[in-house]
C-alpha cells in the first residue's frame, strides 16, 4: 500500500510537470533547476553521490500576482534506494502597491540571510553545504502562512517581512494547535553589496508536538533573535549570522542556546575564491530537541566559478562535537543550474 502511495505521488509530480510545461506557451512560466554532484573522503573512505535535485517554477498569473514553486527530490535516508519528494516552497505573491507584497503559502522563514537567499540552490551557496545551525533545526526553515513584505524602500533600501504561520509541530496542510508563529524581520542596504538585518521569531509549541521526530514533552514558549551582516563585493565576501534561541517551559524555565557562523572569502583571478567558514554551536543542556552536542567547526575551501550555472568547490571541514567527537571531511562538489 505504501508503495502504491509512493507511485501515485510520483505520477502526480510528473503529471504536474507536464501540465506546467503545457502552459508555458499560454503564460509567462519558467522552469529551472539545480543539482549538485560530489565526492567526499571521510574515515578513510571515498564516496560519490548527488545531493538535492531541485526544480524551480515561476509563473505570472497577472500583472499583480505571481507564483513560485520549489520542489526537491532527495535521497530518503529511511528507505534504501528510494527518493522522497519534498515541496519546499509554494508561494503566491500579490504585489498590491509599489514594492509592497502579500505572500501566501509555504515559504522559507525569513529569519536570516542564508535561509532567505540561497534556498536549495547549491550553485549559489558560497560553501559546499549550509552552516551547521541548519543541521540542528536551530531555526525553523519553513513556515506555512501569510507574510507582508516590503523591499528596497527609501534611501537605505529597507526591507521588511511580517510573517504569521502555523509554527513548529504543524504540517503543511494543517496546524497542530491554535497558536501561530510570528516572524518579524528588517534589513537595510546602507552601501553597495552590504546588507544588515535583524529578526525576531516567536512561537508557542504545544505539548506532544512532533518536530522532525522529537516529541515536545511539555508546552514550550520559543523566541529566536537573529542578527546578520552580509557583504558580497567584487573582491571580498563576508557573511556572519548569530541566532539566540530561548525556550521557556514550566519545568525548566528559560534556557538559551546560541548558534553562529562566519564565512569570508576573497576573489582572486576572477573565478577563484578561497574561503573559510567557522561555526559555533552552544546548546543549553535543557534545550529540547537540540541535544547537547556543542560544536565548533572550521571549513576551508576553494571555489571555482566556471560561470553562473556551474561552480566547483573543494572543501575540508573539521568538526569538534561534544557528544559525537571529532570529525574530518574532504568534499568536492559540482553545483549546477539548468
Amino acid at each position: 500500500m505504501e508503495n502504491l502511495n509512493r507511485i501515485a505521488l510520483r505520477l502526480s509530480a510528473i503529471c504536474l510537470l507536464f501540465l506546467s510545461a503545457g502552459n508555458v506557451l499560454a503564460q509567462d512560466t519558467h522552469i529551472r533547476g539545480f543539482v549538485d554532484l560530489g565526492a567526499n573522503l571521510q574515515d578513510d573512505k571515498v564516496g560519490f553521490g548527488f545531493g538535492e535535485y531541485d526544480l524551480f517554477i515561476t509563473s505570472e498569473l497577472n500583472d499583480h500576482v505571481t507564483f513560485l514553486g520549489e520542489t526537491v527530490f532527495r535521497y530518503d535516508k529511511t528507505m534504501e534506494h528510494e527518493f522522497e519528494v519534498s515541496i519546499e516552497r509554494v508561494i503566491v505573491n500579490y504585489n498590491y502597491y509599489g514594492n509592497h507584497s502579500v505572500l501566501i503559502g509555504k515559504q522559507h522563514t525569513q529569519i536570516n540571510y542564508w535561509n532567505e537567499s540561497y534556498h536549495h540552490g547549491r550553485v549559489f551557496f558560497p560553501t559546499v553545504g549550509r552552516p551547521l545551525l541548519f543541521e540542528y533545526d536551530f531555526i525553523p526553515l519553513h513556515t506555512m502562512g501569510v507574510a507582508l513584505q516590503g523591499l528596497n524602500l527609501g534611501k537605505l533600501k529597507l526591507g521588511y517581512t511580517l510573517l504569521v504561520g502555523n509554527g513548529i509541530g504543524s504540517k503543511e496542510v494543517s496546524d497542530n494547535d491554535k497558536y501561530k508563529s510570528l516572524t518579524a524581520s528588517v534589513h537595510i542596504k546602507p552601501a553597495e553589496n552590504l546588507q544588515l538585518g535583524v529578526s525576531f521569531y516567536n512561537d508557542i509549541i504545544s505539548e506532544g508536538a512532533d518536530e522532525h521526530g522529537f516529541i515536545f514533552p511539555e508546552k514550550t514558549n520559543q523566541q529566536i533573535y537573529t542578527g546578520s551582516i552580509a557583504y558580497f563585493g567584487k573582491k571580498y565576501e563576508l557573511l556572519t549570522e548569530t541566532s539566540y534561541l530561548n525556550n521557556h517551559t514550566a519545568s525548566a524555565g528559560n534556557n538559551g542556546s546560541l548558534a553562529s557562523y562566519l564565512y569570508t572569502g576573497i576573489r582572486v583571478k576572477d573565478k577563484w575564491v578561497p574561503y573559510i567558514r567557522l561555526d559555533y554551536l552552544d546548546f543549553d543542556k535543557y534545550a529540547p530537541y537540540l541535544g547537547n552536542d556543542d560544536t565548533k567547526s572550521v571549513a576551508a575551501g576553494l571555489r571555482y566559478e566556471v560561470n553562473y550555472l556551474l561552480v566547483l568547490k573543494l572543501e575540508f571541514q573539521h568538526d569538534d562535537h561534544d557528544v559525537l567527537g571529532s570529525m574530518n571531511k574532504l568534499t568536492a562538489q559540482v553545483a549546477i543550474g539548468f
Binding site: 519558467h30 529551472r32 524551480f56 515561476t58 505570472e60 500583472d63 499583480h64 505571481t66 513560485l68 516552497r89 508561494i91 505573491n93 504585489n95 502597491y97 509599489g98 514594492n99 505572500l103 532567505e116 537567499s117 534556498h119 540552490g121 549559489f124 523591499l151 528596497n152 533600501k157 566559478e305 560561470n307 553562473y308 543550474g337
Partner: protein
C-alpha cells in the same frame, strides 16, 4: 619642390589628425547608450534612479504599472556595454544577479533581445517597459533623459 613637400607634409599630417578625430568620435558615439521607455515611464530620471530601476529594485512606476526591464543580450556589443556601464557587472555577474533574485521570488527577470527592433517593439507594446539601446528612431517609444542627457 621643397615648398610642395612642406605642403604635402602639412596636408598629410592634418589628414591623419582628422581621421584620428573622426575615429575617436565614432568610437565615443558607439559607446553611448540610449534609455527608452513606454508611456508609463517617466521622461526624465537621474542615474541613481536608473540603476536602481534596472537592478529590479523598483517594482512599479508611479502610475502603478509594473516595471519590465528590456535589455540586449549580454553577448551583443550593446548588451555588453550595458552590463559594464550601467550595472558595473560582467555579463556573468549580471546573469547570476538576476537568477538569484528570481530564485528568491523578488523580481521578474529582464527580457533579453537579439536585435534593437525586437527590443523597441517589446517596449512599445508593454506598459511600464524600460530598455537600453545604442540608438533609436522608433516613434512609438520615448527616449528617457538621464541627468538631462539623451545619450549616456
Amino acid at each position: 619642390m621643397g615648398n610642395l613637400m612642406r605642403r604635402f607634409a602639412t596636408h598629410f599630417l592634418l589628414s591623419i589628425i582628422l581621421v584620428g578625430l573622426c575615429a575617436f568620435t565614432a568610437i565615443g558615439q558607439e559607446d553611448k547608450l540610449v534609455v527608452v521607455g513606454n508611456n508609463s515611464v517617466p521622461s526624465e530620471m537621474d542615474m541613481n534612479m536608473l540603476t536602481s530601476v534596472l537592478k529590479g529594485e523598483q517594482l512599479r512606476w508611479k502610475d502603478g504599472s509594473r516595471v519590465s526591464i528590456a535589455l540586449m543580450k549580454t553577448n551583443t556589443p550593446v548588451g555588453f556595454s550595458t552590463c559594464e556601464r550601467l550595472y558595473n557587472m560582467t555579463a556573468n555577474e549580471l546573469n547570476k544577479y538576476f537568477l538569484a533574485l528570481v530564485f528568491q521570488g523578488k523580481v521578474k527577470a529582464p527580457t533579453f533581445f537579439n536585435s534593437a527592433a525586437e527590443l523597441e517593439a517589446y517596449v512599445s507594446q508593454t506598459p511600464g517597459a524600460i530598455g537600453v539601446l545604442q540608438n533609436t528612431n522608433a516613434e512609438s517609444i520615448k527616449v528617457i533623459r538621464i541627468d538631462g542627457k539623451e545619450k549616456i
